[in-house]
Amino acid sequence: MMKFIKLLFRNQLAAVGAVILSIIVFLALITPFLPLQDPGATDLPNKFLPPFTEGHFLGTDHLGRDMLSRLFWGTRMSLWVGFVAAMIAATVGSAIGITSGYFGGRVDNIFMRFVDMLMAFPYILLAMAIVAALGPGLNNALIAVAVVNIPFFARNIRGITVGLAQREFVDAAKLAGMGHTRIILFELLPNVLPVIVIAMSTTIGWMILETAGLSFLGLGSQPPQADLGSMLGDARDDLFTDPHPSVIVGIAIFLIVMSINLLGDGVRDALDPRLRSGALSRPLPSTMVDRGGDIPTPTEDLLAIQNLETQFHVGNRIYRAVNDVTLTVKPGECLGVIGESGSGKSVTALSVMGLVASPPGVITGGAVRYEGNDLIGAPYEKLRQMRGDKVSYIFQDPLSTLHPLYRIGDQLAEAIQSHHPVSNAEARKRAIKLLKDVRIPNAESRIRNYPHEMSGGMRQRVGIAMALANEPEVIIADEPTTALDVTVQAQILALLDDLRRDRGLAIIFITHDFGVVAQLCDRVAVMYAGRIVEQGLTDEVLAHPAHPYTKRLIACVPELGEGRRVLAAIPGLPPIVSDLPPGCAFAPRCDKARPECSQGDIALEGAGSQTVRCLYPEEDIK
């Protein structure tokens, strides 16, 4: 709760809204005890007194009634009506939504048909039909506004519940012997409650506005009862001669609704876990760069990552995702980068072309050189021209990485036309050729497909075709087969291998699978907690791992054909990169660790092709 309030008030606008609203609500609550004049006492000789008149701070209305007093009582009435309407709509709507979403099937069908019917009305017509039947009056207006808002809650809550009901914890609850009522009340409701609160906080202002509107039209509160809407409606008759009552009441409604909206936005931001971390910020066209320290000197390599440091700045925490990583790749070579989740392998890959989402990502040091030219800190346009033309990417999940609304032929053509001014017909021809290159049958008709019309394996072939579109020198493949079935994976890997041999491509292959590395890569770099802990020729590293982590990780991987057995495990967990221990990050899990392992940086050392970051390596490296 305290966390919620803290989060809420971090949003300054929400804090302003909360303050204004609390003042208004407080005044409305104590109105009966304030020394106000009788709001109904007419005094015709003194009608339309302007504000700041003696005895009438806000002046008087068309019947000479004190505006200040009427404003207080009217506000009290409007707030109350809006609040009650919101409660009714939220309770009934949420009950419908949660029942409908949990049970699904026929119950869902009947409830949702009914809700659809209600939503088929422009909402005020339904409200007016209800008022027409029940007769004008504030209570009837309240009922009408509550009813027309039920569909909003029902739909919202149903959507959330459907998602939750498919979650495995609901199945687990059933297996623990819970009945439907218990699941709805104790498993689902606590999870839905924040959404109900969000929906209420964002609609209560709207409902106050709506009831005021009905009263304004004369369909809500009837004299002598007065809410802000009917006061505005009365004042409107004399708008052109004596506008001040209209203006005062209008501003009051505006202030109430605005403060509720501000607070509502704040509540939503504080309760919605996705918004909480500021995740809904748009990633910039390229990763932010804020390099301290020296920039490494150019090398001759095709692509060189030099002492790269990439961090994520979230709130006050700094996650050192990539820490002093140096890698190079030669034409025709396949370099594997292997590591577990959170090891920084993907961030390293994305940093090359400035594709790390930013905010929160920042490249804080090192260089990435393509043929000697530094890409980090290069102007955006230069980087854009290199992207996809010299260095291209293949990503993990081809369903989410292809644009769902463009035909794959158009997506391929766009990749070409972003770098080469060719005609549409020519681009189309090349797109077909590319699909044939990645062995997609019926390429001529396939280019008219949308991604959702293809299987996972076919989509990933399209992803590869797109990476090949401009005949790049380097392809960075970020776990390209992780989302695929094993029979499909084998084909994609074989395809990639053929392509690189035929075309002399350099590939940086990011994976967590030693089997894949062994089959595909010439060299391999092992990453742990943002650093490279070992690097060398694949055969070398697999046969004689020098770092204890590499050695034990290889031992963990079950391999087909070894039969039933006890598997090796590494106790403990990888460190969180916002809180790295000094020295070797693996030391806390390492059975060879000695005190000096946790003191100061350990260099990546070795002679020849194999290097290791360890004081007591498993093998003597020649």
Partner: protein, 315 residues
Amino acid sequence: MGAYILKRLLSAIPVILGITIIVFLIIELIPGDPATAILGAYATPENVERINRDLGLDKPMVARYFIWLGNMLQGDFGRSFSLNRPVLDEISDRFSATLILAGVSFVLCSIFGILAGVISAARQYGFADKAITFVVLIGISIPSFFLGMMLQLFFAVQHRMLPVSGMKMIYGGGDLPDILWHLILPATALAAVATGVIARLSRSAMLEVLRQDYIRTARAKGVNERRVIYGHALRSAMVSIIPILGIQAGFVISGAVYIEYVFEWPGLGRMLVNAILKRDILLVEGGVVVVASCYVLFNIMVDVIQSLIDPRIKT
């Protein structure tokens, strides 16, 4: 495509039937003898006898519904007792006024709302974003009827730049420029709120889309940023913006009731308010059924447009 439109149109039939049932049931809620309830102050013996005959009020509820529905299908919405003319005549006279007001406002709020939302998202946390967010906040918090009144006061009364109210000049008016001239203030007041809502939702739709993996793919293949935002991202965002437009159309129609009342615009909204105050139930029924049915048809159009943009919708 044709088959899809036909399918959607057919699916509208049960919805419109549902609307008539709901309206019928709501009117049935009126306590007391239906004839006197419907007629209210106009319950003269001749009228009671006439309505009993027209609506079969002596018959059971289900039979009454079908008589009422049958009459409506034949274009007979009954007779407005307060205006002493057939309901349908009154509705058709006023239909175009509402259509002009709501239509123009809807076009305005769609264009400006989406534009503001997209710019706001593209320049997140920049000056334009903050300015737009601020204006939008005011827009969605101000009651449209109050905004209308203030526009009248400032532009029409104090500065005499634009007409205070009405749809055309009483003498010699009624041509297109005249109507547009009268339309400026009410359309602005009506569009303001919806523009704010559309802008907000478009902004978050854009931000959501810009975080997707396929935007990263587009950038990775070297597509320039303008095309990333106004091509790839906007196209996907439209998939969630278009249904919002459908819902906002309902809000524009609803808002038109207030604006017609404030600006004395001779449309259906104003007619409905008067009808309720005079308890002219048949006129209310007719107006609600006609407007709601139009809204249903409009939403079908929205669905069809949606299916043109999103190939994942099975047509």
